[in-house]
Amino acid sequence: MLSRVANNLIWMNRYMARGNGILALLKVNFYANQDSPELFSWTPVIKNFASSETEFHTEDTIECIDYMIFETSNDNSIINIVTRARENARSVQEHISRESWLCINNYYLFLTNNNLRQRLKEEDPIRLLEELLGHHLMFYGTNDIMQERGPAYYFMNVGRYLERVILISDFTTLKLKEISEATDDLEKGLYWRNLLLVVGGYQKYLKTYKSSFNEDQIIDLIFRDKLFPRSVYYCINKLNRHITELIEEGELGNNNLQFLLGKLESSIKYTTIENIKDQGLQNFVDGIKQDIGDISENINSVYYTPIN
């Protein structure tokens, strides 16, 4: 496969995963903000998930959602993210299924339809967010069913899981900061619950631990659970699997990558909750982010090194 194509496949999926994560955050914060605007304000959302240089500020719910979805001057707005995902998809059409391309293209057209921004102002914003989230689900489902297993599929998954780990780490960092500033346990509990909702683990948590929010169990679910598809361990395990497939197919030089991933995977697997708490969850998350950053750079270096 062309190196450029591999790179575009990774980024197409990173963007789609990022859009998915940001939309989920907006939806969860919408509900939480209605309950307690003082705990779940919009400012941290914009500060952490809009483009880093933004000076935009609002506590108006609709204004914030509008900014996060439609504002083209916000580099990380959904419209910019999807535009980039689509440009990546457009240039690799012969490698992805026709259905995947149509799916991403229709998402883009839906987003750029002139009425949509107006709809946000006049109608139920949750319905709109869910419609957008639906396009991401459609994209994942389409790839799952239509994409043949092989290098293109593996590269796509590398992008998806890389981005997912980064998102979970960022969400956790955001919540930990709020938790550290919380005044009582009730407040802390609300933040932890909110984190579960943002990563989509609330239901799984209830099923497993019932409705009592215990910090250790939440950390365990989000970071160490083997079966929850949006846990850090699960994502890194998948990342490792797809990268191993690529190495075995000769599509990716080993380049220390397997070592880095194996190390990260076992460091999560064999770290107990006590270990995590000893070093501090934030340090633990920072460690993961650092490792993921190295892995991502390592993959990039494979494709940006001129072969001569």
Binding site: E94, N105, N308
Partner: protein
């Protein structure tokens, strides 16, 4: 009786061939079936279909992007839903005519880059060739595989008031539009379910398979690595490049994906360099190799021409084919056919005046109101003077420019392009059209896809069908 008034205000243009009506205001036989269908379909329903067609083009991504203030706006090329219909008999002549023409043009290119008999025998003046910007000295003496220069062509035809097809220009470099031929047909299938088989319309969907086979057969290798080279996503024909690559199952590459090493071309893949054997390039000659042509080009590949001359890679179309579709050379194509093939041209040329000849310049100046003047190296409908609609001042300015470099211009009488029915504002109206069939030349001969791109001047009274100037397209039905 008509259920609707679709046909009520069809104002035929005077002295113009209409594709649907004959001179007695009767429907031509090839349109009868479809007219029957139209008569039984309300204008509202047709409007719905028109809207559906637009949506389909958008959702399939058959678009080009116009960038404005960092915002990309998706555009579709306008599409008229009423097909243009061609009889088997008409097609037969077109097919024979194009085959004959391509045969002669290909021989001409080979001759020009080798012995130049046609100049020595005084058929074409040498200075015309050597001063042509499309003449590539880099191709002199280069033997190309199977002596095929023009693998892919899109000859533009128009139908004059006499009902004959004339060649407007030979597009022998990197003609585009074939994806619209394919896509327009796919849309027609959905707009008019069951109507195509009823009419006995010949299929065009094999084109990518034919193209792939022609490309593959050029190489002596059993399974050559064939790629399509695109200038990239900002090119207005990018949609076409992705479509063709996808439908052929070949890699779509950009200049940066390729590298030349020891006179072989490779693509940079995730598991190292992989040799490339055949390149269907959609990058112009000038940008192909920064070492030999435009040095600042980032669309091409450094060293590719040297690899080509060594026979290590096949470039399609061959570099330098522009020498045969220059507007000044066009005049000599009938002579070429007589010279190389000893045959009379099946398809006629349009009467063309060379403004470098004082007598002809004088004649054109006198009859300027009936003339269109074009640059010999222009394309896309730019830089033309349409004598019948220009102001006196525009004409004067244009003629001043011509007089500075008369050999850079030709003139032709303003043509009566034939008209075909278009669905406009709820009614059928005649609009001027042309026809671009796509021909593939390969080791096993020339194949012409039974169909093509019918371009239409959607503005009332306009003769300019170019998409850059308000033109659109139609599906083209060739009947069995």
């Amino acid at each position: 009786m008509n259920k609707n008034n679709l046909f009520s205000s069809y104002d035929k243009l005077p002295n113009t061939w209409d594709e649907m009506y004959n001179d007695n205001a009767e429907f031509r036989v090839q349109y009868e079936q479809f007219v029957e269908y139209l008569k039984n379909t309300s204008p509202e329903k047709l409007s719905t279909k028109e809207e559906l067609a637009k949506q389909l083009f958008m959702s399939q991504g058959v678009t080009f992007t116009v960038y404005n203030n960092n915002e990309g706006i998706e555009k579709i090329f306008p599409f008229d839903i009423v097909p243009r219909i061609i009889t088997a008999e008409e097609w037969d002549k077109i097919e024979r005519g194009i085959k004959q023409r391509l045969k002669a043009l290909n021989l001409f290119i080979k001759d020009i880059y080798h012995e130049q008999f046609i100049i020595k025998d005084g058929i074409i003046p040498g200075e015309l060739i050597f001063s042509c910007p499309y003449f590539l000295r880099e191709m002199k003496g280069v033997n190309v595989p199977h002596d095929i220069y023009v693998h892919i062509s899109g000859v533009d035809l128009i139908r004059n008031e006499d009902g004959e097809f004339y060649v407007l220009e030979d597009n022998l470099r990197t003609p585009s539009g074939v994806s619209y031929m394919l896509e327009n047909r796919e849309i027609s299938k959905r707009l008019f379910p069951g109507i195509l088989p009823k009419n006995g319309v010949r299929s065009v969907s094999n084109y990518p398979n034919f193209l792939y086979r022609k490309l593959k057969d050029l190489s002596p290798i059993v399974n050559p690595n064939v790629v399509l080279l695109t200038p990239g996503i900002y090119n207005s024909a990018y949609y076409e490049h992705t479509t063709l690559a996808r439908l052929m199952g070949i890699e779509l590459v950009e200049g940066n994906d390729l590298v030349v090493k020891d006179h072989f071309v490779y693509m940079k893949t995730t598991n190292g360099l992989k040799q490339v054997d055949v390149i269907y390039r959609r990058v112009d000659d000038d940008y192909l190799d920064p070492l030999e042509f435009k040095a600042e080009s980032i669309l091409g590949v450094a060293g590719i021409m040297a690899a080509y001359r060594k026979g290590n890679v096949i470039i399609v179309n061959a570099p330098g084919t522009g020498i045969a579709d220059d507007k000044a050379i066009y005049i000599y194509v009938p002579d070429m056919i007589r010279y190389y093939l000893g045959e009379e041209p099946i398809l006629k040329n349009i009467k063309t005046y060379q403004l470098s000849k004082p007598v002809e310049l004088e004649y054109v100046t006198q009859h300027i109101r009936e003339m269109v003047i074009k640059k010999t190296d222009g394309s896309g409908g730019y830089g033309m003077l349409m004598g019948h609609e220009a102001s006196d001042e525009e004409i004067k300015d244009y003629l001043d420019t011509v007089k500075k470099k008369p050999d850079g211009f030709i003139a032709q009488p303003i043509l009566k392009l034939s008209t075909a029915p278009c669905f406009i504002d709820g009614k059928l109206s005649p609009r001027c059209i042309d026809l671009r069939p796509f021909a593939l030349s390969g080791v096993d001969g020339v194949d012409i896809c039974p169909g093509g791109l019918t371009r239409v001047a959607l503005k009332k009274g306009s003769l300019v069908v170019n998409s850059s100037q308000g033109g659109g397209s139609k599906d083209t039905w060739v009947l069995k």
